[in-house]
Subunit: 150 residues, 2 copies
DNA sequence: CTAGGAGTTCGAGTCGGCTCTAGCTCAAGT
DNA sequence: ACTTGAGCTAGAGCCGACTCGAACTCCTAG
């Protein structure tokens, strides 16, 4: 086993704790996604600490919410440059929040139509597949003629 | 002007009405994303009808809700094969709906943390940037030590 | 002593989804 | 007659975000 000295972690352990692959961890590091540098043990292996894991989990969350890597890098750089960049970080986060909100709103709209179509199919299937001529194509093949389908 | 015969549309008009580019329209056609084939006028130009526009708008919506092109193609093929595939279409839509729901739930979680971080930065900025030692890095540089931060 | 497993670098490859280029044909307007 | 603009095809290129391969170095256990 690796020396379980203080809170040090190998890349594999960090992969385990973040859900990222070791490939991706090295990739993120090259991309400048780590706010403070990874130490190396003599021999060149990366040595991570808990703070790296926390930071990476934040990055995972930002990615999951759709923030592109360049934006994450930008944020990372602000953090690296110290506390006087707080206003810029706030602006970045707010911009991201707004974009996420928009995407969520859009998703809600999509859900409305998807659920509408599902309901139409359900009705059609459960109470009458009487192979009549009026369902040659589908019960509602293109029922975009629906509220909120611009 | 193009002969404004019945409801016929050029590719450019369809692009206008769907928000897709003409490139993307041809691409989608190659990808088998059109339930029924596009006619051609003598000379080879595509002739679309309103039903194409409706179908494409549905596709746009499915894309916007994260459905990958292969799944859309699959759905398209079911529609093409006729009304007896309704059950399969329903299954496909339900699966998609479930995935969208999951993504929305995940987004909600992300929003919680993003908004938490924003609040922390706001508080820090508005009521005291007194350059003390305790904000050397940030008010909450990695405050993933937060409810719902697994 | 040697085999295994985990680590390293660098660069190439993959995948999804477009996006664009080159070289061509039409049809209409001036 | 000629230019302009929209369309056509086939195929290449691009971008984002990984993902993998080759070739090598360690360390540890058997």
């Amino acid at each position: 086993m690796l020396g379980d000295m203080s809170g040090d972690l190998t890349i594999g352990q960090v992969a385990g704790r973040t859900g990222l692959s070791v490939h991706t961890l090295r990739f993120y590091e090259r991309e400048g996604i780590l706010a403070d540098p990874v130490r190396r043990e003599p021999g060149g292996r990366r040595v991570y600490g808990e703070h790296h894991v926390e930071w990476l989990n934040l990055c995972v969350l930002l990615r999951a919410s759709g923030m592109p890597l360049p934006a994450i890098r930008e944020y990372t750089e602000l953090v690296r440059r110290g506390g006087h960049t707080a206003a810029e970080r706030l602006a970045l986060l707010r911009a991201h929040r707004d974009r996420v909100r928009e995407r969520m709103a859009r998703l809600d709209e999509c859900m409305d139509l998807i659920e509408f179509k599902i309901r139409v199919y359900e009705d059609h299937l459960e109470q009458g597949p009487p192979e009549g001529e009026h369902l040659c194509g589908a019960p509602a093949e293109e029922p975009a003629a629906h509220p909120a389908a611009s």
